[in-house]
Point group: C2
Chain length 83, copies 2
């Protein structure tokens, strides 16, 4: 069966996010003064074949931990859905 994983990888809350800070400051400069914080990470969609949802979940989790995210600097979360 085919599953679609929607993964969000974000810089850890405790760390500075220079890209987010830069975008926030640009937004302030061009008039979006009501924006109080911006954080920028990655959104990854992954199509994966698996026998069942538990297997798909395990594979995606492993891939996130080993390859897609850097655990020193980033946290991840994902949702799975059957397609």
């Amino acid at each position: 069966m085919k599953y679609l994983a929607e993964i969000n990888i974000m810089p850890l809350k405790a760390l500075l996010d220079p890209q987010g800070k830069a975008v926030k400051s640009s937004m302030h400069n061009i008039g979006y003064k009501t924006v109080t914080d911006v954080r920028i990470g990655k959104h990854i969609t992954l199509d994966i074949e698996a026998d069942d949802e538990a297997h798909a979940k395990q594979k995606v989790n492993e891939a996130c931990e080993k390859i897609l995210s850097n655990p020193i600097m980033e946290s991840f979360e994902f949702t799975l859905k059957l397609v």
Copy 2:
């Protein structure tokens, strides 16, 4: 009131996504053969002050269209929640 916008910005379906292609091929090489497609975009969280949800939505939509995404190459979607 303070709203949290969760924005996903993805390369348009019709376009190649070289970063996604590269990650997919690396994943195949290291054994994740069941992954059939990978697309990589941005995930942005935005804290915004607004009088009500309609105003917040309008501001976020405008910011996505004008600054955060490139409409030639990317599509965006977002959810808003009161924090």
